[in-house]
């Protein structure tokens, strides 16, 4: 979802799921999306480790990144140079699998100027060993937004 080295500001809008009615699981997944964002901004690798499945596949800027790669980079990340603002998010339930789709925008800082860029993300969560785990995440740049 969100790239590294980011200070996160969450302003999520809620909207209904389409594959199945949203319930407690969907709320839990929304909370996990925010925990992920907060864990990343505070470089809390322990929190992220609990959210990410060991086989997580993450596509960041078109590159394939493993859980180990991701956590290593979070650990050595420089203080925040940009912000990510979460926007609308939907959760679609398929039994023990959930798909979250949403958008966020990234305000990158270069000198004194900001360079906003919007992304649309798709995350896949699976309920395993008694909890929801993130197993896949990817984002594509919004070229008309």
């Amino acid at each position: 979802m969100a790239p590294l080295c980011l200070l996160l500001v969450c302003a999520t809008a809620l909207s209904p799921a389409q594959a199945a009615p949203e319930g407690g699981a969907a709320s839990a997944i929304r909370a996990l999306e925010h925990e992920w964002a907060e864990g990343q901004s505070s470089r809390d690798n322990r929190a992220l480790d609990l959210i990410f499945d060991n086989a997580l596949v993450y596509v960041e800027y078109g590159r394939l990144v493993t859980k180990g790669d991701y956590l290593s980079r979070v650990k050595v990340a420089e203080p925040s140079a940009s912000q990510v603002v979460m926007e609308a998010m939907t959760v679609r339930m398929f039994g023990d699998t959930a798909i979250t789709v949403g958008t966020y925008y990234e305000k990158g800082l270069s000198g004194n100027k900001t360079h906003p860029k919007r992304w649309r993300f798709v995350d896949t969560w699976v309920f395993e060993r008694g909890r929801w785990m993130l197993v896949a995440a990817a984002a594509a740049p919004l070229t008309n937004g």
Binding site: Q18, A19, D53, A55, V57, V59, E60, Y61, G62, R63, L64, R92, F94, G95, D96, T97, I99, V101, T103, R118, W119, R120, F121, V122, T124, V126, E128, V135, A136, A137, A138, A139, A140, P141, L142, T143, N144, G145
Partner: protein, 144 residues
């Protein structure tokens, strides 16, 4: 002829999908479905394509645009001479869910000019009602 070939591929893929619960770790089954998907898109075989996608399927294209299943089918119907192939596919299973990563190589002609485009994709498949269905897909420009 292409329709016949696709029909055979679909039967083959359907047979594989039917075995999925017995052999849930077989990535070749999902890879076969991915290839059927590419063939169906190229041949504009909307029936075959529809059979692969769950009704709640969503797709995010490399421009960040979100499309529903019906919008994807309409897009395929309107496409011209697009050739798609998948490379470097890797499948991860999580119970009745499979995650596929790989690279799409798309060839076509845009305003008279041939192009080749590479995108990284992440597809999510879910085993339901005796078969595998794609429930989500995202493609994004290939990174450095």
């Amino acid at each position: 002829m292409r329709t016949l070939i696709l029909a055979i591929l679909l039967v083959f893929a359907g047979t594989l999908a039917g075995d999925a619960q017995r052999e849930p770790d077989s990535g070749s089954k999902i890879a076969a479905l991915e290839n059927v998907w590419n063939q169906a898109a190229q041949a504009k075989d909307l029936k075959a394509l529809s059979a692969l996608l769950d009704d709640a399927f969503i797709y995010v294209d490399p421009d960040g645009k979100m499309l529903t299943k019906s919008e994807v089918l309409a897009d395929v119907q309107a496409s011209h001479g697009i050739q798609v192939s998948s490379e470097d596919m890797v499948v991860h299973f999580h119970g009745d869910t499979a995650i596929v990563t790989g690279i799409y190589r798309t060839r076509g002609v845009d305003h008279g000019k041939p192009f080749v485009r590479l995108d990284r994709f992440v597809d999510t498949w879910h085993y339901m009602n005796g078969g595998w269905k794609s429930i989500a897909s995202l493609a994004t420009p290939l990174g450095p």
